[in-house]
């Protein structure tokens, strides 16, 4: 039974294709249908997750703040996304008169497309990778670069100084946090010996007394934390959501967007968040593997989505806890702490590997990472000494 569930998606696709082939449908239409089924399923699942996430985030935030979340629409408020969707669709679409109409229209499109494209390389299950790419991790970051262009387009075309400032801050944030993100990802790729996501998952092989996932190694734990932090920053989530902070910049680069275009940005942000959670799970949490061999009867895709939902839930937990960072603090954190920490973790992973992956390697990598952490945090725990203020322009 568990094997049937495990291979159910592939079996279903083959069954449909066989049925169509039996009707004499030509080969190239079959290829199209196969691709369409995979793409449709993938997008459908993630859109459903997006809808669920939008209500679960509000409810979890509410419970963390000692209040109920939305609980009017549907049982426990679970139909709230339907109400939100109807609201977004029926809102008037206002474009400022002095805005650049073409670019203003294209910005949500350019934002949405990379968010959907990156879902293609994630291994959802043992045989469930939509596209097997040799350099899959690199593809992820390459396509993610399109998001920055979209943010600029959104901010610029609104012809509004708050939007432009918001867009510049957002782009600066995304570029700064992309570096430690890539380095943390490359740490996991280096140890696995491949850039293909499927190979990385399989390299986090069977368990000792702890699962062999990279998050349970010293360098892997730190790399996972760095990746997680940069993932929060890349998807503009709290505590890095200055670009869309309402109290600072109205809505930053999204100020002039209303109705369905805003919903598209919102959707792109959440789907991007799920995609990067998916990558986090693939790189550090063992992807579709069960934690214990005894739990292997649960299908692999259930494990994958359970882990992704757990990581997304933890992102909501972080959002409920931490206040927003100021832009100079945010960028300083990225360049002065995360980037050096990323390089040191890379070094520690190499030491672990070349020391034979045994206890010596564990101790060495732990020592390196610990020392770097203490040294770099000393940079941030300086007490602010209050100096005598010098007013430059007052006589």
């Amino acid at each position: 039974m568990s094997e049937f569930l495990e291979t159910a998606p592939v079996w279903l696709k083959d069954w449909v294709l066989g049925l169509l082939a039996g009707f004499g449908v030509p080969g190239w239409i079959l290829d199209l249908v196969a691709a369409g089924m995979v793409v449709g399923t993938c997008i459908g699942i993630f859109l459903g997750l997006f809808a669920l996430m939008s209500v679960m985030e509000r409810k979890i935030l509410a419970r963390c703040q000692n209040r109920y979340g939305p609980n009017r629409v549907g049982p426990f408020g679970l139909f709230q996304p339907v109400a939100d969707g109807i609201k977004m669709i029926t809102k008037e679409d206002i474009v400022p008169a002095a805005a650049d109409r073409v670019v203003h229209f294209l910005a949500p499109v350019v934002m949405m497309v990379p968010a959907l494209l990156v879902l293609a390389i994630l291994p959802y299950g043992r045989d469930l990778v939509p596209v097997q790419l040799d350099a899959g991790i690199l593809y992820f970051f390459a396509v993610g670069a399109g998001t920055e262009v979209a943010v600029f387009m959104a901010g610029w075309s609104s012809n509004n100084k708050y939007s432009v400032i918001g867009a510049m801050r957002a782009i600066a944030q995304m570029i700064s946090y992309e570096m430690p993100l890539v380095i943390a990802a490359l740490t996991a790729a280096m140890v696995s010996g491949s850039l293909a996501p499927q190979a990385i998952v399989e390299a986090q092989g069977p368990a000792g007394f702890l699962p062999g996932w990279y998050v349970f190694t010293p360098w892997g734990f730190v790399a996972a934390l760095i990746f997680y932090t940069c993932a929060l920053a890349e998807s503009n989530r709290c505590p890095f959501d200055l670009p869309e902070g309402e109290s600072e910049l109205v809505a930053g680069h999204l100020t002039e967007y209303s109705g369905f275009k805003y919903a598209t940005f919102f959707m792109a942000e959440y789907i991007g968040m799920f995609a990067i959670c998916g990558l986090f799970v693939t790189l550090f949490l063992g992807g579709w593997q069960a934690p214990l061999p005894a739990l292997g009867f649960v299908p692999s895709w259930v494990w994958f989505f359970a882990k992704v939902c757990a990581v997304a839930g933890s992102m909501v937990w972080v959002r409920a806890t931490l206040p927003r960072l100021r832009i100079d603090h945010m960028l300083g954190f990225a360049w002065k702490f995360l980037l050096p920490m990323g390089f040191v973790t890379f070094l520690a992973a190499a030491c672990w590997h070349y020391a034979g992956r045994g206890p010596a390697g564990w101790l060495a990598s732990l020592a390196i990472v610990g020392a770097a952490y203490v040294a770099l945090s000393a940079n941030f725990s300086r007490r602010f000494s209050l100096e005598r203020r010098v007013y430059q322009f007052s006589e």
């Binding site: 419970r63 963390c64 703040q65 000692n66 209040r67 109920y68 937990w317 806890t321 931490l322 000393a378």
Partner: protein, 220 residues
């Protein structure tokens, strides 16, 4: 009450362990612990969630809160037990002039001590309670109904006599202290009137008796 609880938790072992953390980044961990405690506690500790789920849970209004006026009747029959005698003092004293009274007349055209029409326009009423303060007959008081919205701006926001008449028991239900005082005052007034009538009757009886004695005396 919540403050007591958190201080007790922070003195517990887990709380002291968490507050003693001093490594860089400890603040993040403590914050996450607080949020997690809130999250889990909101399911198990009943008094954490202070939200009033409105249509299911009615808000507990203070006793003296008021919204719009209503007329009181004693007994079971609204028309017969109505205290209002149509003196029109409230109509004159109402600052935005939202009360409209027409006195009732009998078949012969003689004025009766009751209103035929008593309308209050609650879209105009400002809940100042002046009508209550000037009524000599304790017949108009402030209600606590706040869900008076309607889709019809001009029709349903004018309350007629039938809408406004509510029983004395209802008044006791919403403003118990005030109702008890009003009833005591009415009772005292009634006793005083009865005593005055009794004294008057006694005095009249005595005068009659004295006159009768005086009549008998010259005859004797």
């Amino acid at each position: 009450m919540n403050e007591q609880k958190t201080s007790r938790w922070s003195e517990s072992f887990a709380g002291r362990l968490l507050s003693g953390l001093r490594f860089p980044g400890a603040g993040l961990v403590k914050g996450l612990a607080v949020t997690a405690r809130n999250f889990v506690g909101s399911y198990f500790e009943k008094d954490r969630l202070l939200t009033e789920l409105y249509p299911e849970q009615r808000p507990r209004l203070p006793e003296n809160s008021r919204s719009f006026p209503f007329l009181i009747y004693d007994g079971n029959d609204p028309e017969a037990g109505m205290r209002c005698v149509s003196c029109k003092i409230c109509e004159k004293e109402c600052p935005p002039q939202c009360i409209y009274i027409v006195q009732d007349r009998d078949a012969a055209g003689k004025a009766l001590k009751r209103p035929r029409v008593f309308n209050i326009d609650i879209s105009v009423c400002m809940s100042c309670q002046i009508c209550v303060e000037v009524c000599p007959f304790e017949s108009i008081r402030m209600d606590q109904v706040f869900e008076a919205s309607s889709y019809d701006r001009f029709g349903s926001l004018v309350l007629t006599k039938r809408d406004l008449l509510k029983s004395n028991e209802y008044y006791h239900g919403i403003h118990p202290t005030e109702a008890a005082e009003t009833d005591a005052r009415i009772e005292a007034d009634r006793k005083k009137k009865e005593a005055a009538a009794a004294a008057k009757a006694a005095k009249a009886a005595e005068t009659a008796k004295a006159a009768a004695e005086k009549k008998e005396a010259p005859a004797a």
